[in-house]
Symmetry: C2
Subunit: 215 residues, 2 copies
């Protein structure tokens, strides 16, 4: 792995890892802002999303550079194609963290989530952060085993979303609160979906098996 092409692929992967690290930080702070009603933290998440986007532009530039400089074989091209998709998903995960933060700002100084669902949203936030942290490791190590198991982690977010929805009819919330809760639960659930997609791309880059991640 010391030829110049593979060195460039490594640098490309480093950019994806850097994106994933920022996404960890974003979802971590967005979740905390949601639970604490911390508008300063929420504002920071919103403004720093620009850094994730900037990294995605660098991924694009690097890919064009790579493809014009080298004749790549199919397996390398799968990696490059995977990198394009991974950057799209990571950018979207950053957006979802931003959406959580924005909903805090939209309702402040009132809390977005009712006290009775606080524990469930704390669990969602914790699961999302854990998933994002795992994703950093998967990208850094190109860890196929962890990547193939990411959907198990994502099941937790799906289960929490289902649990929150199941409680909605009986908790007596007003329509505004119910709508906010449904959308917030969906932001976390989608965050997990994108993590699964990234993981499947890591598997695809190595095995060429694309029949994993679309439903």
């Amino acid at each position: 792995m010391v030829n110049p092409f593979h060195q460039h692929l490594d640098e490309l992967n480093d950019l994806l890892v850097a994106m994933a690290r920022r996404v960890v930080s974003a979802i971590d702070r967005a979740s905390a802002a949601l639970l604490e009603g911390d508008t300063a933290a929420a504002e920071a998440v919103v403004s720093e999303d620009e850094q994730v986007n900037a990294l995605q532009f660098r991924v694009d530039d690097r890919i064009i550079e790579l493809m014009t400089q080298y004749d790549a074989v199919a397996s390398d091209l799968r990696f490059v194609l995977g990198a394009v998709r991974i950057s799209v998903d990571l950018e979207r995960m950053g957006d979802l963290a931003k959406h959580v933060a924005k909903s805090v700002l939209l309702r402040a100084p009132a809390a977005v989530i009712p006290d009775s669902l606080r524990a469930d949203f704390a669990a969602m936030g914790a699961a999302a952060v854990r998933i994002a942290e795992k994703l950093v490791g998967i990208l850094e190590e190109q860890d196929q085993l962890q990547a193939s198991q990411m959907s198990l982690d994502d099941d937790e977010l799906d289960a929490l979303q289902a649990r929150i929805h199941a409680q909605l009819p009986s908790l007596g919330y007003g329509p505004q609160t119910a709508a906010d809760v449904a959308l917030l639960a969906r932001f976390f659930e989608r965050f997990g979906d994108h993590a699964v997609r990234v993981s499947h791309q890591v598997v695809y880059a190595v095995t060429g098996d694309v029949h994993l991640d679309r439903s």
Copy 2:
């Protein structure tokens, strides 16, 4: 445009157009199913989403083929990179149509949307279909002008979503209905966002200007 490489690029674009046509059909029938409570139509949308996914696999295969057979210049690579992203967005638009259809099935035989919001959702469906149809034309003709104006069409979906949300607190819906309405409005709004992203990729493929479509 008659060299073999460009002929292959045209065929790649034909696959994207085919995806977009299926997305038009999906969102059209999903919207009708939503308004009419037509579960057969909703089931068809859900099962036929597989065809959109299958086309995306063909896009991937075609791209790998293209890149291994030819030395492309940067402008062609931008087109290829754009095609990867466009296929991701079109696949997602298909998913969103499927989500609308699934919510019909989830609540049947009850209606998902209350009568008082029927006109607004009819307007959302009509706008989404018009946007998707426009997208087919943009992809077919590589129409830069229409592509650059897509965000204006999308504004209509955003405005309808805002209108629906503004009505939520006063219409006296139960939490379940409010949650369903908020999610459905979001599916349509996201559908429009992805159409804007596709349009920006069409502009990017020609101009190389990527600083349009991320927020």
